[in-house]
Symmetry: C2
Subunit: 520 residues, 2 copies
């Protein structure tokens, strides 16, 4: 999941043997809690050692040989756990690993997704080799000391230990957790309550360009009753969370044209039209300072929240005050409206402005053009096509002639206000109904088993391609993250907090053994 | 003069022996016209050869040894023409050459300014060595063929020949023209009608950082009754022009702050304040699309045009239609109001915008800050200080807390709208009264002598430091350019059209011999 980590430290210390406590938590316990504590106590080092071997294989996008090796190793790890596996590929790109393990009784089929590729690394910024994982007994910035992964471990709690390395969190953590959960289940000779299918890809950080074709080609084999997309971090409160949707996206580059070359601002300033001033004026009429989008009809397609969605919103812990402090903000948009509500609305984000030069490079010139880069975030039932139409209609109504290619000289001479709009492909927004059987079963099984109130988000603010899966495979999709929120995802010193690994194993074990019992 | 060349070609072909014709020209001729044609016919190659030697000395800013050599050579060229000279310097920077030549009778004193340094060159973009001047019999882009500077010249008109090399136009041309004019006067054993003082500096292209101290230190020696600032190009119509003023300037870098680091626009978009949107809104309230400045009171200090200024405006040839076509513009600001009028008003030019990234570098992030670089152009009686006050008052009134240094974290957390304003030193606007004796004498002498209606501009749009001279030396200043407008000033293939050199020599000869007769 392309997600920026938040570094808010909310110290919720959890021990290995006890579940997180929450005043509003369901008062039940998992029937295997004791067995799981024993498994963890005896097997935790073995789990980390097997994970270490997987992490030691480089996985930067573009390193085709290394990515291939990741896929082969994962395939073997699955085969060892009784999966029937296949390797799928489109052209010679990094392969998708498919695995399937059936349970003995008739049961629902659960599809899990994760990815084995990682973001590129700038080794100069890392404190250790990204592909030689290092274990510390506390976060590095808090003075954590190294623990040898294979040497003897000191006695005591390991939950706040951190494993440093590329993809410890994003996104090999769910793979490791699933494998260990299966080992636990095997060690107790338990039955899976669902048929299990896995799809583990190697091009997520590159935008999964070949995944749509692979899904389309194998949709019969991938048929499932529900899907968990395992990526991204848990809530900043360290409570486990389920994400039922994601905002869509419509990206556009806007270029407003002035003179065909920069003109001396002394000789031509306030005669030659200034494209930066024109662009600023246009943007100010598209969106106000509080984040409200002023384009007529822009909110018409927004689906109102359901009663359940509204209720879960109220249950999500607010981190607004801490977030504002963390990010140096005296306020947030819409008069400090809560983040959890804001991300359920569409957004117009100006992600970039460019015209002429600023600072020491500033030239006394009327710039030839001014650009704005915008990402709209969409919510159901908005579509990239609908937004494109609304935006271009609005801009035309503001007196601009809209083009999609660079204008030629006659076009420049014909239209006083000229703008080029370059749209990206966009994403559809996704929102899985929280009331359907799959949603209720996943929530209920985890809440009962973990003895904690899950954080249930109707939608994340970001744009994950949930619709790619739900539309191609006709399956409800929920996102279930494992990693700590402060994992430094995509950056140097990416790390996994071991407590998150232990809880991830536990969540998968609970789901695999109990989900089928609630899922009708 | 930091001035962008216009490339409009208005073919006004002029011959060496006849003056430019204009229907409205004064019907007089210079009493030395015939003598001057003879001088030119016999001496033109010698003039170019002496100029060539001066041009061959490199003069890029920073090349201290070469700049020093320029000054020494110019000093010798002046001494050979009976000037008492001095070399002035501030610290060890490129020196100022001062020269003085008194006439025998009591007379007014005229101070002339030029500079010998040139803009840096990118030799890869030049078609010939910038410091090995090359003479072509037509502009290079029109297929001009090389004429050997020292070899025999073909018979015929030389007016449309072009001399290529750094500073052929900006700003060694007036130096060469003045030297030749003095040679002509000497050849006829004529008297100067004025005492002549020269100040020729070597740091103009670097912004003349040491000139104020030098002027201050030598203001007694520089005392004069009138000053001609010889720099920049003549009018695009190829008619000679006098510029009586220049717009002032107030430069400011504006930085609006968002979160203290870029935040993922999916997760925090329309929650975290977007500084690019805030900046766009602010700019749109400071200036409209037609160039009108919306800051209250901004036009209060603008001095209305005098009757003479209004009259000269009407006399300036309009190039608006050609300029709009040349620059690919379907319109110009203020509903196509004429350029000549627009530059007599203040301007707010957005010379740069910067926030996040655009195009292929665009990231899905709320930028941490957004910057705009602005140059205000000022007219009498505006001042940089007054504009600064008005602008900051306005921005404060828009709810922004204005700081001048980077804000610390407590400041960020205290103020919802936070902007940093970094002001440059600015220039005062200059406007020399067109009715004073010096102005009338210069205009009248040149119009009578050249037999042409001069283009008289109350002000140029750009910002030349006329006020530095007029305020320090308490002298009226007029700008008298020599070079062709299409000289590619500051760029590769800078060139001087020989007709402009011949007319420049003639203008200096006229002024030196006749100015004192009209100047009371």
């Amino acid at each position: 999941m392309k997600r920026q980590t938040s570094a808010i430290l909310i110290a919720v210390l959890m021990t290995v043997s006890s579940s997180p406590n929450d005043a509003s938590a369901p008062n039940k316990t998992w029937h295997l809690d004791l067995a799981y504590s024993v498994f963890l106590r005896t097997q935790q080092q073995a789990v980390v050692k097997e994970f270490n071997a997987l992490l030691a294989i480089p996985n930067a996008a573009g390193d085709l040989a290394a990515l291939e090796q990741n896929a082969r190793v994962i395939e073997r790890l699955l085969q060892r756990r009784e999966f029937a596996t296949q390797i799928w590929r489109d052209h010679s790109r990094p392969p998708v690993v498919f695995g399937e393990r059936k349970t003995r009784r008739p049961a629902r089929t659960l599809l899990l997704y994760a990815h084995y590729d990682g973001q590129p690394v700038d080794v100069r910024q890392w404190h250790s080799d990204p592909w030689k994982p290092m274990l510390l007994d506390a976060p590095r910035e808090e003075g954590g000391r190294e623990i040898p992964i294979s040497g003897p471990w000191p006695a005591g709690q390991t939950g706040e230990w951190r494993l440093y390395g590329r993809s410890t969190a994003d996104d090999k953590a769910p793979i490791a957790a699933l494998l260990a959960a299966l080992d636990f289940i095997e060690s107790r000779r338990l039955q899976l309550s669902v048929n299990l299918k896995l799809i583990i890809e190697g091009e997520e950080e590159a935008g999964s360009p070949h995944l749509p074709a692979i899904l389309e080609a194998h949709k019969e084999q991938l048929a499932a009753d529900g899907m968990l997309l395992c990526d991204g971090p848990v809530h900043q409160s360290r409570r486990p969370q389920l994400l039922f949707g994601a905002r869509g996206m419509a990206e556009v580059e806007m270029t407003v044209y002035g003179p065909n070359r920069p003109l001396h601002s002394g000789h031509y300033g306030n005669w030659a039209p200034n494209p930066a001033a024109l662009l600023a004026g246009l943007l100010s009429r598209m969106r106000d300072a509080e984040g409200k989008i002023l384009i007529p009809g822009f909110y018409d397609d927004v689906r109102p929240l359901s009663a359940t969605e509204r209720q879960t919103l109220a249950d999500i812990p607010s981190a607004d005050v801490e977030l504002r402090r963390e990010y140096g903000l005296a306020w947030s948009e819409a008069e400090n409206a809560p983040l959890n509500e804001r991300i359920l609305l569409p957004a117009l984000n100006v992600r970039g402005l460019e015209a002429g030069h600023t600072g020491s490079l500033a030239e006394n010139a009327v710039p030839a053009e001014a650009r704005a880069s915008i990402d709209f975030r969409l919510v159901p039932e908005q579509t990239p096509e609908g937004v494109r139409r609304q935006v271009e209609d609005f801009i035309s109504g503001q007196g601009f002639h809209v083009v999609h290619d660079p204008p030629d000289e006659p076009t420049r001479l014909a239209y006083p206000r000229l703008i080029r709009m370059q749209w990206g492909p966009g994403y559809l927004p996704a929102r899985t109904d929280m009331e359907i059987s799959f949603s209720r079963a996943v929530s209920g099984t985890l809440e009962n088993g973990m003895n904690v109130k899950m954080v249930r988000q109707p939608s994340v603010g970001g744009s994950i391609p949930m619709r790619l899966f739900s539309d191609t495979l006709n399956v409800p999709v929920i996102c279930l993250p494992i990693a700590n929120h402060d994992n430094r995802q995509h950056g140097p010193d990416e790390n996994l907090r071991l407590q998150n690994l232990w809880e991830g194993i536990r969540m998968f074990a609970i789901l695999l053994t109990d989900l089928g019992k609630q899922w009708r």
